[in-house]
Amino acid sequence: MTLSLNVNGAAQTVAITDENTPLLWVIRDLLELKGTKFGCGKAACGACTLHIDGEAVRSCSYPVKLAAGKNITTIEGLGNEENPHPVQQAWIDEIVPQCGYCQPGFMMATAALLNKIPDPTDADIDRNIINVCRCGTYYRMRKAIHRAAAIQKETTPKTEE
């Protein structure tokens, strides 16, 4: 079957035999976007987190058929070297990654959090950022999340009341 997807703002068409194939493998193996990682394969670790219509989703547990016609954003679409997303800039500033494998998932989860709660408290972070980092970079990530919130606040154009 053929599916039409919108990935990082670009229309994509993929041919697939099993419509229940996890979206993760379509993103990585068919569309060659390798930033989204496979971790546990059971929606537990969050390494595969991306956005579907702005919501954080574990793509290892998301059948590609449900993604048809929806807007998908991966870490590659969050920002780039010239114009990094506040979360990406904060991750660089705080030198967060150690091995780095799980970090794209954390950054996507954080970007989704900042869309909902622009200035999250530590409690907000504890409830919403539940990915797993085996290097234990949680302390630096918490600092980076607060920093990302500050960067986003500085760079978001102020609207007239």
Binding site: A43, A56, Y62, R127, I130
Partner: protein
């Protein structure tokens, strides 16, 4: 003579064994039909209904502490997930971050339409079957439903009926279903309501 009797006994046992082997794996139904005469006391529609509603496939999502339960041992949901403000988890990490509208056989994550916790006032965890029945019929605790609406909810809602299609876990092992077939459960619920939804005293 005694040797002949022993031989016949062995032959009889072998035939019974062959019947047993021939029927092994006949999976037309996971449920056996039990006639009332198999019990000293006949099971009432209320009994049948409550054998389902007190099963962990149902109670796991009717918690008394805002924390969904998982598995046949009803352990608290991993990762600190909880009800949140809308029965759907937290602001950016919601039930639908992992659970979709259908079971996922690759990840073992269960799913069904409208996957969410039952509202807080509909908690069943820790209640006995009489208390659950009272809760189900109390408009203050059942979402303002009439008995008729409650009957339809119990017998038609896709998330309720998911209990008989619970999928497999992360190891590919099928989840346990309620101890009564879906058909017998629906029949019992309808009968209980048709009979006036009387809650027995125990």
């Amino acid at each position: 003579m005694r040797k002949k009797q022993t031989w016949y006994a062995l032959l009889f046992a072998s035939v019974i064994g062959l019947f047993a082997v021939a029927n092994y794996g006949n999976d037309a139904s996971e449920y056996i039909t039990v006639t009332p005469t198999d019990f000293a006391n006949e099971e009432t529609p209320f009994d049948t209904m409550m054998r389902v509603l007190t099963h962990e496939r149902c109670v796991n999502c009717h918690p008394n502490d805002h924390i969904p339960k998982q598995g046949d041992d009803s352990h608290p949901h991993y990762f600190g997930m909880a009800r949140g403000t809308s029965n759907m988890g937290f602001e950016a990490t919601r039930c639908t971050s992992c659970h979709q509208s259908e079971n996922n056989a690759y990840s073992g994550v269960p799913g069904a339409p409208e996957w969410s916790l039952a509202p807080a006032q509909m908690y069943w965890e820790g209640l006995n079957r009489i208390e659950i029945a009272k809760s189900m019929l109390d408009p203050e605790r059942n979402g303002g439903r009439t008995p008729e609406e409650t009957m339809h909810h119990l017998t038609e809602h896709e998330l309720v009926l998911w209990a008989w299609d619970p999928g497999v876990d992360a190891s590919g092992i099928p989840r346990e279903k309620p101890p009564v077939s879906k058909e017998d459960y629906i029949k019992a619920v309808k009968q209980w309501f048709a009979d006036g939804h009387i809650i027995p005293s125990e």
